[in-house]
């Protein structure tokens, strides 16, 4: 064993490597991405790893490996599980031979997601066991245990960390390479009664799954990570009202919230804490042991009140006179992240009174001392981002026309910000195409645009294009091809020609795909050539049917900057057209005059192209009187 300073996701990856995982597939998505990236970096020779085209493909690849007796893992974020849910729901009825861990990272807040959905519900829905780590160290050990449970019970299992566990760092004690488990897959054995799902098989297996989950609930009650913790009283005695009240109180918590509870209870005596590491199947026996002798329990969990409901159910089932408090009773906030502060305040209120009074949210604050107005910093497209140029070209070309701009998931969602204001809708991966078609059916006089990035195109937009062509829609498809998956940190995809195994393969050509589907008009343009781009949009948008423009220009984070621009102060008339129309972070006004932040400018020249007085020049050219 040795210590490494690891991000939770890195710890999960190294745990899987130590467990002898044979195959890892996934699709990038915050906060899950670093798991697969770390496996690719730290893998042994016997591990195959891939970014799949989307989560559904990844789930199926991992399932096939597990059918063949391999240990497999599939990684995604919570909304990715929606994409992969079709194979997963059926897979549970079929089962696996090798251990299979489904890593789904949930995102309370949400920090970087469309929803605050809770994968613990998905566990109950799909009947899969679910593991919920509270720290990087625990996640490291838990993934290894999850593989063992998966094999013992022949079922895929969820490992469901949340953002603060995924992205929190800790010094983690990890195995040396010679301590890794090695796992040799036994191979796929033909058995159609096992691997081919049919209604009769599903009925029989459903019975087995229900029996198994009852057994698992027993098993999990003895699992060491589900536990009743009594915080040690190292500091002097009990400081607060814990003992003043005749009401016997306890706290139930999970995940990162469990660590917030431990921090809040430092120095407080005799408050038992039930830690739930397996929300499904719920460790009922252990919960009963915890509830016995208590009068009130406050639950801390992020996203949905899963533990709160389970405890309420157990109290009802066993006629226990214990009051269960939490999100449902409005004693803990029911959306967004918990924090050290919110948990501390909620515990204080819980210990002080018996909630006879209505809960109040008053925090003691000294409001007399107000700091100056802080700058608001919404995320923006980077300086030099080619998406800005693409949006600006379409905006310019379609000025005055009735339009709808359907956006999608990726950096380019940020095109919604002022002054571009070029994203009218955004729903989920690949949805822009379908939305544009639906709007077009109801409003035939609207020019419908769908914007989609290159990675998203491969992940889930291709079927939308086929639907549009087959059903004779009128729409302009804009592909924002920056040759990477930028938002999640530059992962390769089918259009980049690199794989996670380090291979260089044939790129899948988006233009050829579109032509293959039957689009007659597919134009590829550099969006940073503003005039050409605008005239291309004008030409293409007026044609009927489905047509496409591929705006091709690499992400600034994966290319060297071309240089930088500067403002000729004698020529600048201060109209600020560049700032008003582009909203580029490199365009600043330090003393009321337009200037260019050298440290940000990439020399994309877009501002130069729209300056009415030619006051913006390349830093190398022109005179030097700035």
């Amino acid at each position: 064993m040795h210590n490494e300073f690891l991000m939770g996701n890195e710890a999960i990856a190294l745990g899987a490597v130590a467990a002898g995982v044979n195959l890892v597939s996934g699709y990038p998505g915050t906060p899950s991405t670093e798991v697969l990236e770390t496996i690719a970096k730290r893998r042994t020779d016997s591990i195959y790893v891939e970014w799949s085209v989307n989560e559904k493909a990844a789930m199926e690849v991992a399932a096939g490996a597990a059918y063949s007796g391999a240990r497999s893992m599939v990684t995604m974020k919570q909304v990715g599980l929606n994409v992969a849910s079709d194979p997963l729901m059926s897979l549970e009825y079929v089962g696996v031979k090798g251990g299979m861990v489904v890593l789904v990272a949930d995102d309370p807040g949400p920090v970087s997601s469309q929803t605050e959905q809770d994968t613990r519900h998905f566990a109950a829905f799909s009947k899969l066991p679910c593991f919920d780590p509270s720290s990087a160290q625990e996640a490291y050990e838990m993934v290894q245990e999850a593989f063992a449970y998966s094999e013992k019970y022949g079922t895929p299992v969820f490992l469901r960390p949340t953002t603060r566990v995924c992205h929190g760092y800790a010094s983690v004690s990890v195995k040396d390479a010679d301590e890794y488990m090695s796992h040799t897959p036994s191979g796929f054995v033909k058995d159609s009664a096992r691997w081919v799902i049919f209604p009769r098989l599903s009925y029989q297996n459903h019975i087995k799954i229900e029996e198994r989950n009852e057994k698992l609930s027993e098993d999990f009650s003895a699992y060491k990570r589900n536990q009743i913790v009594r915080p040690s009283v190292s500091e002097t005695g009990s400081d607060t009202a814990a003992n003043e009240s005749p009401v016997r109180k306890g706290i139930a918590a999970a995940g990162i919230s469990f660590t917030y509870v431990l921090e809040s209870l430092k120095g407080i005596d005799s408050i038992p804490v039930l830690k739930i590491a397996t929300p499904h199947p719920f460790p009922e026996k252990l919960a009963l042991e915890f509830l016995e002798g208590l009068d009130a329990v406050l639950c801390f969990e992020e996203l949905d009140p899963v533990i709160e409901k389970e405890l309420t159910y157990i109290c009802g089932k066993h006629h226990l006179p214990v009051k269960i408090y939490g999100k449902l009773s409005h004693h803990v906030k029911n959306a967004g992240e918990n924090s050290r502060d919110s948990v501390f305040q909620d515990i204080r209120r819980f210990l002080k009174d018996t909630y006879d009074n209505t809960p109040s949210d008053s925090m003691t604050g000294n409001s007399s001392d107000v700091p100056p107005d802080l700058p608001v910093r919404p995320p923006v497209l980077c300086a030099g981002c080619p998406h800005r140029a693409s949006f600006y070209a379409v905006k310019t070309a379609m000025q005055g026309k009735k339009t709808i701009f359907c956006g999608d998931i990726g950096c380019y969602t940020l095109g919604n910000a002022m002054p571009l204001d070029m994203v009218d809708t955004c729903l989920c991966m690949g949805a822009g195409l379908g939305i544009a078609q639906g709007v077009g059916r109801i409003e035939p006089d609207t020019h419908c645009f769908a914007f989609v990035g290159d990675s998203t195109f491969f992940a889930s937009a291709v079927t939308g294009v086929i639907n549009a062509v087959y059903n004779q829609s009128d729409l302009t498809l804009i592909i924002l091809d920056n040759s990477t998956t930028a938002m999640t940190g530059h992962q390769p995809h089918p259009g980049t020609g690199q794989t996670m195994m380090g291979g260089v393969v044939d790129k899948i050509d988006i233009e050829a795909v579109l032509k293959g589907i039957g689009l007659d008009m597919v134009e590829t343009v550099d969006p940073l050539e503003h005039k050409t781009a605008v005239s291309c949009v004008k030409r293409v948008a007026k044609e009927p049917g489905v047509k496409a423009i591929i705006f091709k220009s690499p992400c600034i984070a994966v290319t060297k900057p071309k240089g930088s621009m500067r403002v000729l102060t004698d020529k600048c008339i201060g109209c600020k057209k560049c700032i008003r129309e582009l909203g580029c972070p490199a365009l600043i006004t330090p003393k009321g005059k337009v200037s260019i932040d050298l440290s940000l400018c990439t020399g994309c020249t877009l501002c130069q192209q729209l300056c009415p007085t030619d006051a913006i020049v390349n830093r190398k050219a022109g005179d030097s009187n700035e």
């Binding site: 300073f5 970087s112 760092y169 990162i256 660590t259 700058p375 002022m418 580029c584």
Partner: protein, 194 residues
């Protein structure tokens, strides 16, 4: 010895690297370390933070209000934003250079960070303000804000690490060609804080 350190700034400024250096320095002293940082959409020019905690008996990577020994502000407004985390008598080291958000540029706001520094002076006794433009001119590179702040943090006494600890972390974590430059930055801070 336990320390809670908040680093804050604007996406792209390099708060993550600084927090990694602090963590490495603490680990070299065989202390357990936990940290947390902003990852995701906010990295595109939004407000970002890192929490670093080292020492024993720490359960959570997150720091609570009034718990931070020191705040390292890469931008003065962001330092003010994080001030509720500072404990009574804690230290703040901050860059004086404001970064104007695009929204402020668009609306013609006059934000320049000056009022933030004034506010900090009024509210923080143990305050170190660094003018990165001036410092970087003398050092000869625009990319040493990280190390300047770390150096100031050392001299505030609130970070619990020595210049030697930071130097060793830099030597272990950064490519060799950057060592000299960063050592110069530490030297600059020492010279100007005496």
């Amino acid at each position: 010895m336990n320390r809670n350190i908040v680093l804050c700034g604007v996406g792209g400024q390099g708060t993550v690297l600084a927090s990694k250096l602090i963590a490495a320095a603490a680990m070299n002293k065989n202390l357990p370390v936990m940290s947390a940082e902003t990852i995701g959409m906010a990295q595109r020019g939004g407000s970002v933070f890192s929490h670093v905690r080292y020492g024993y008996n720490v359960s959570s990577p997150m720091i609570a209000s009034g718990e931070a020994d020191i705040i390292l502000g890469f931008e003065p407004g962001e330092a003010v934003r994080m001030l509720p985390f500072l404990k009574e008598g804690g230290a703040v080291v901050t860059s004086s250079r404001a970064i104007m958000p695009v929204t402020a540029t668009l609306s013609g706001s006059s934000y320049n960070g000056g009022e933030m520094i004034t506010y900090l002076r009024e509210h923080v006794e143990n305050l170190f303000v660094i003018d990165p433009l001036k410092a970087c001119e003398e050092i000869g590179s625009p990319k040493t804000l990280n190390t300047l702040l770390l150096g100031a943090a050392v001299y505030s006494g609130a970070i619990g690490l020595s210049e030697k600890d930071i130097k060793e972390a830099i030597a272990a974590r950064l490519p060799e060609k950057f060592h000299e430059l960063n050592f110069k930055a530490l030297e600059y801070v020492r010279k100007h804080s005496e």
